[in-house]
Symmetry: C2
Subunit: 198 residues, 2 copies
């Protein structure tokens, strides 16, 4: 049986979870009660997937939603991993799994490996649907570098940079990234759309 | 305007929150959507408060709930801080504030300062209400010791121990504490009640 422990106290939660460990009950905190829906991202494009996320969440919570779908498009791989970027090495793949698979796919292909990060950002409030795209060109290098970011950032060298997307700070990434471009454009479109003061 | 960002990806969340920082929109994650209710713990006993928490949360979520209310009872202070243990130094008091206030109250009183930690643990599933108490005797020392636990643990020396409740590990605390006693007893009562296999 799942039992809610009605506390906001982390210390108590830790103690009582341990006390109930030898039972068949699962003690969950109030915070763990959020039911985060499984969204099936079966779109064939970044926009389709971003739209699926936004509409699914809007339908559940009836509040304005932004969503994005983004990924890496490698020229020599005909645009792969593309919309499969987060699950390139399988359904529950980690960033490391995906990075390793990408390096394997590229190992017999001549350098450089031109690639782009692409992002589609959307807004939906049950009435208005807005979208914006962002892209950053660059290339895939042979070894991961850097600890920031996530996904393929350690393997991606943006055009004109000597640092990977994982070697730059969040502030710097948010000046150049595909996601920053898409969401900044989306902000402009929301502003122009008139309804959304920013 | 509050906008939900439909993502489970912490990296994306960080980036997009930063991108929307210069707007009047507040970007919130799916996890931040949980509405944790303010519970007014205005009972006069540990049991009343534990029951208020359990019934309030049951009424909201219609799922089995456990709750506790617990506190420190100091003999020389006629049982204070008691049900006010978490807010002894005021409504938003930290553990440190409460500990300091306790030491101030005791500074002109002769040692030792006998005290007990008391806990009332309850179970409620909309139909059955079960309760159990736990207590651990000890005394309050003049200076905080130890980094584990929370609340008054650094000032509380359990009877027969030379370590404070904050100098012992969670495992050890869960062998002797008032909360462990109350919840272990509650587990037994739930088991005996027949409906709750453990």
């Amino acid at each position: 049986m799942e039992i809610i422990f009605a506390t906001g106290n982390k210390g108590k939660l830790k103690e009582v979870k341990a006390i109930f460990q030898d039972t068949s009950h699962k003690v969950i905190s109030l915070k763990e009660l959020t039911v985060i829906p499984e969204i099936v991202e079966d779109g064939l494009t970044f926009e389709e997937n971003a739209r699926i996320k936004a509409v699914t969440i809007y339908d559940l919570f009836r509040k304005p939603v932004i969503a994005d779908d983004s990924g890496l498009s490698v020229d020599q791989l005909q645009g792969a991993p593309g919309v499969y970027s987060a699950r390139y090495a399988g359904e529950n793949a980690t960033d490391l799994d995906n990075n390793k698979k990408l390096l394997r796919e590229l190992q017999n292909l001549p350098e450089p490996h031109p690639a782009s990060f692409i992002c589609c950002a959307v807004f939906y409030d049950g009435c208005t649907y807005l979208k914006a795209f962002g892209e950053i060109p660059g290339r895939i290098i042979g070894e991961p570098r850097g600890e920031h970011g996530f996904g393929y950032d350690p393997l991606f060298l943006p055009e004109g940079y000597d640092k990977t997307m994982a070697e730059i700070s969040l502030d710097e990434k948010n000046k150049i990234s595909h996601r920053a471009k898409a969401f900044n454009l989306l902000k402009d479109i929301m502003r122009r759309d008139g309804k959304y003061e920013t």
